[in-house]
């Protein structure tokens, strides 16, 4: 027979005004197995808690119901108190008779009846509460950062400087990301490469950072603190340990007209190449799609000229395995290509370019060495039209969100343009100017007031080419909504601030890692306000524009925040978690694996049941308590009732249901008295 104590709170008048707490106590006293049932003015006060604690000891209670405010309020308080008194905290349940009863009902008899029912149901439930223990999970204090842009670099450095090993995985041949390709940065107009490259070098030299460039995450298994990651090192065709980075191969390579990814297609590169001079690692890679040896079977010039004999045509992709405790996803963004905008002639007119292309044109290290020239004919553009919100905030284009960084970089572009082409005209078409950030609005004002950028509030409907006096010009047709007029501008160049979207493959990576993403494939944070750099999957953290459009300062702040989350996790050898996890009765389980299908956390694995001679008798589900978050989806889908959820067992719910629907005659009489 159970020994249950029931403690009912008046909450001053909050409960007692509409619930006759004395009657509730009296009614509970008559319930079989309830050995003590008392009410008190403020149960949560020290003397109130003391009543409960003493009763736990003196009455040898093995279950406690506290009837008071919402469990979200004080469940923790009373469980801690119960533990102090020597009772397993999970043997205590809260009956919510304030938020769900006294505050929402006026009729005292009805409220009292309902309070009795709530408390009774909780008593019935608590009979079957189990002694639970928080779960401890060992932690491998080693992190993986995916993505070597500024966010990934920052996160890797912060974690490594905290004393933990970091594995940094970058898809392209060099780290640096988009930031390496930017000209100047807002709102200070300092040179992007000047601030970034020292960081890149630091990564290369850091003893705690293991860099896998030209590599991708192949698979992830395991759970927080205990991931096992397979990384595919793509064949570089160059032995990076013997290569000295002298660059002679690149110089001599005869394949020279390949559009450079780093130059956003505005410059050329060779088939063996280092993406940009400051690349980390500064080792070339052979682009097998364009290499003459790989496509035609002969050439091998690079091999011939290579002093240290570092060329490896026969190299294959290699899979390496790493044990990891936490993962930071910093896979960044890309922007919509110009071809996405046929109405602006993107792809048809070479002088309609994207913002990132403009960055390269404006960059001192770019294809024009920082001189602004039209891609079509190399002429200096006398008039440039910048279109912000190209694709962003445009439901017709399937993008509802604001790309956030464009307002600022468009202002920057207008400024840079003015600095480079004196007397040139910069028009900016905008919907709103969103410049909230330190010194941001001042920056935009400078563009308008000092650098005379002409801001036109409105959108552009069409851009088309027209030959005027023997020169191909771009006619920009739009609306000036402030004047309520249609405007037409004859320009030399059109720059689209095209929408930011997650990198290609972001969703595929999320699926490998087992973390959710939104309809645009941006990674979802666990809580938009309170847990912005954590994903819903324990041990997976987010940094930078992979989660939403972000500028550099934000990405860096994110990265440091994620790094700090990782270090909090790594600060202990073991991690404690709520014990609300699913469990499988392998005798009842017959391996249909419906649970596996519905588990959002991939916490269900398959276990073979063998006999003594090692033959597999059956395969059953097994819950990985490290991954399970306790949603209980597996239980509802299980026909055999082979699963159950600690803390919310079928038996507890069954009893709670029975407890609710039953008001014994005794209890009814108590109410009527």
């Amino acid at each position: 027979m159970a020994r249950i104590g029931v403690f009912i709170c008046w909450c001053g008048e909050n409960i007692s005004r509409t619930v006759d707490v004395v009657k509730v106590a009296e009614a509970m006293a008559g319930v079989p197995g309830v050995v003590t049932s008392v009410e008190y003015k403020y149960m949560c006060s020290d003397p109130g808690q003391k009543i409960m604690k003493e009763s736990i000891k003196n009455d040898a209670l093995d279950g406690v119901v506290v009837a008071l405010c919402s469990p979200l309020m004080h469940e923790k308080t009373f469980r801690t108190a119960a533990e102090e008194a020597g009772l397993n905290p999970f043997l205590l349940e809260v009956a919510n008779i304030r938020e769900h009863c006294s505050w929402v009902h006026e009729n005292k008899e009805e409220a009292t009846k309902k309070a009795i029912a709530i408390t009774r149901s909780t008593v019935e439930r608590v009979r079957y509460n189990l002694q639970l223990k928080n779960i401890t999970v060992p932690i491998t204090a080693r992190a993986m950062v995916v993505g070597g842009g500024i966010a990934g670099i920052q996160a890797a450095l912060d974690i490594a400087n905290g004393g933990h090993e970091v594995v940094l995985v970058e898809r392209t041949p060099s780290i640096g990301g988009h930031m390496a390709g930017l000209s100047e940065t807002f709102p200070t107009l300092d040179c992007s490469q000047c601030i970034l490259t020292p960081r890149m070098v630091e990564v290369a030299r850091h003893p705690k950072i293991k860099l896998y460039s030209y590599a991708e995450v192949e698979s992830v298994s395991g759970f927080v603190g205990n991931f096992e990651v397979k990384i595919r090192k793509k064949a570089r065709s160059v032995d990076t340990s013997s290569c000295t980075g002298c660059g002679i191969c690149q110089e001599k390579c005869p394949q020279k007209n390949i559009a450079s990814e780093f130059e956003e297609g505005l410059g050329k590169r060779k088939a063996i190449y280092v993406p940009f001079p400051q690349a980390v690692p500064n080792k070339p890679v052979i682009d097998r799609k364009h290499c003459l040896y790989f496509t035609k079977g002969k050439c091998k010039i690079c091999e011939k000229v290579c002093g240290p004999k570092a060329i490896r045509y026969e190299q294959e992709d290699e899979i390496v395995e790493e044990r990891i405790g936490a993962i930071v996803l910093a896979t960044g963004y890309e922007t919509l290509p110009a071809t996405f905008f046929p109405e602006y002639g993107g792809g048809r007119y070479p002088d309609v370019i994207t913002g990132l292309q403009f960055e390269r044109l404006a960059s001192a290290s770019g294809p024009t060495s920082g001189e602004l020239k039209r891609p079509s004919d190399g002429r200096r553009p006398e008039t440039v039209v910048f279109l912000s919100c190209a694709g962003s905030r445009d439901l017709a284009k399937g993008i509802s969100y604001c790309s956030k960084i464009c307002c600022m970089y468009v202002a920057k572009h207008a400024m840079l343009y003015q600095h480079k082409v004196h007397g040139g005209k910069a028009y900016v078409f905008y919907m709103d100017v969103r410049a909230s950030g330190k010194n941001y609005d001042e920056f935009v004002r400078r563009a308008i007031e000092q650098d005379k950028a002409i801001y036109v509030r409105g959108r552009v409907a069409r851009v088309y080419e027209k030959e005027i006096e023997g020169v191909k010009k771009l006619v920009v047709k739009g609306a000036d909504t402030l004047l309520g007029e249609q405007v037409e501008i004859v320009a030399d160049m059109v720059v689209l601030a095209s929408a930011v979207k997650p990198s290609v493959g972001a969703a595929a990576l999320a699926q490998k890692v087992g973390t959710p993403y939104d309809q645009h494939h941006f990674y979802s944070e666990a809580h938009p306000k309170l847990r912005p750099v954590e994903s819903n999957t324990a041990g997976i953290f987010l940094a930078g524009a992979a989660q939403a459009p972000k500028d550099i300062p934000e990405s860096v702040a994110d990265a440091s925040a994620a790094a700090s989350k990782v270090q909090i996790l790594f600060s202990r050898k073991e991690m404690e978690r709520d014990p609300y996890v699913s469990m499988v009765n392998s005798d009842r389980c017959f391996g249909c694996f419906s649970c596996e299908a519905v588990c959002p956390y991939r916490a269900i694995s398959r276990k073979e049941i063998k006999n003594r001679s090692g033959e597999v008798l059956k395969v059953v589900a097994e819950v990985n308590a490290g991954l399970c978050q306790g949603c209980g989806g597996c239980i509802a889908i299980c026909r055999a009732k082979a699963c159950d959820l600690a803390g919310y067992t079928d038996q507890q719910i069954f009893s709670a249901i029975r407890g609710f629907n039953t008001t014994s005659t005794y209890e009814e009489e108590v109410v009527k008295k």
Binding site: F341, P342, E343, R348, R462, Y464, E465, K466, V475
Partner: protein, 295 residues
């Protein structure tokens, strides 16, 4: 891509009975040459056009629904349409009634019969590009429109709204251009492909329409076009007829013939010019296209 069909139900629409008679004639001519039968629906009625669509939502769906049912009754599941507006109305109706059961019930009440659904309205451009294909079109050309500079004008309803008009790019349609190229002509890129001509405002706000038409014609002229190809009777009427007003009111004479694209096709395929009713156009055709007409 569909295997080429040999027969379609055909919905000409009111304009093609009247002022766009030549569109009807030319279309039939082209399809006959392609060996595709267009069986005109018996007892078809008006689709409601823009008028019904402005005035009465129910009527705007009930009228096309009636005609769609006729298609079903004729034993066909696809109906070919020349007029861009008719196409838009019929297609919109099929899509709307599929999802809106309340509207469907109302329409059925008006029709006094069940709306059966399952009919696919196809614009002839769609059929020519997707089922017939450029190779076959090219093969039928006997009198190529060599070096004739054509700008294709799609207007609004062939590409908008994008949910309805799905067969070509919303912002930069190319189907008519490709067909013109098949006919041997030079398909000139120009910026006004999908700009509006003013449509039915031609009666109530004729000055607006005049402005729009002027811009269109000017761009065509600037692009050195010799002729504008269209697929919509109202576009044709506006572009053609308003040139006379421009001449009268603004003293601008563009002399730009505006032809249905099937007229040009028929011509390239060797049809007799007399058959194609060029005389019905207001802007004189002979002087510009003489060389091609008299091939």
């Amino acid at each position: 891509m569909d295997i080429e069909k040999r027969e379609y139900a055909y919905y000409p629409g009111c304009s093609l009975e009247g002022m766009a008679k030549e569109f009807d004639i030319a279309t039939k001519e082209v399809f006959t040459r392609l060996g595709i039968k267009l069986s005109e629906l018996a007892d078809w009625s008006c689709c409601g056009a823009t008028a019904a669509h402005y005035k009465d939502r129910l009527l705007a769906y009930a009228l096309p629904a009636r005609n769609l049912n006729l298609v079903g009754k004729s034993g066909k599941s696809e109906v070919a349409i020349s007029c861009a507006a008719c196409f838009s109305r019929l297609k919109t109706t099929t899509m709307q009634l599929e999802h809106d059961s309340k509207l469907k019930a109302e329409v059925e009440l008006v029709l006094e019969e069940k709306y059966e659904g399952g009919v696919k309205p196809l614009h002839i451009l769609e059929i020519l590009m997707q089922s017939v294909g450029t190779a076959r079109l090219q093969a039928l050309v006997t009198k190529p429109l060599k070096s004739l500079r054509v700008v294709s004008y799609y207007g609004c309803l062939l590409v908008r709204p994008p949910e309805v008009a799905t067969f070509d790019d919303l912002e930069n349609p190319t189907s008519m251009d490709k067909i013109m190229e098949c006919m041997g002509a030079v398909a000139v890129d120009w910026p006004m492909k999908t700009e509006c001509c003013g449509a039915s405002l031609t009666l109530s706000k004729s000055d607006w329409v005049l402005n729009l038409v002027e811009k269109l014609l000017r761009e065509a002229k600037d692009a050195k076009a010799q002729v504008i190809a269209v697929a919509c009777p109202l576009c044709q009427a506006n572009l053609d007829m308003r040139q006379i007003d421009l001449q009268n009111q603004k003293r601008i004479d563009f002399k730009m013939p505006v032809l249905y694209f099937t007229q040009l096709m028929a011509l390239a395929m060797g049809a007799q010019k007399e058959k194609l009713s060029f005389h019905r156009h207001l802007v004189e055709v002979q002087s510009t296209l003489g060389a091609y007409l008299n091939q």
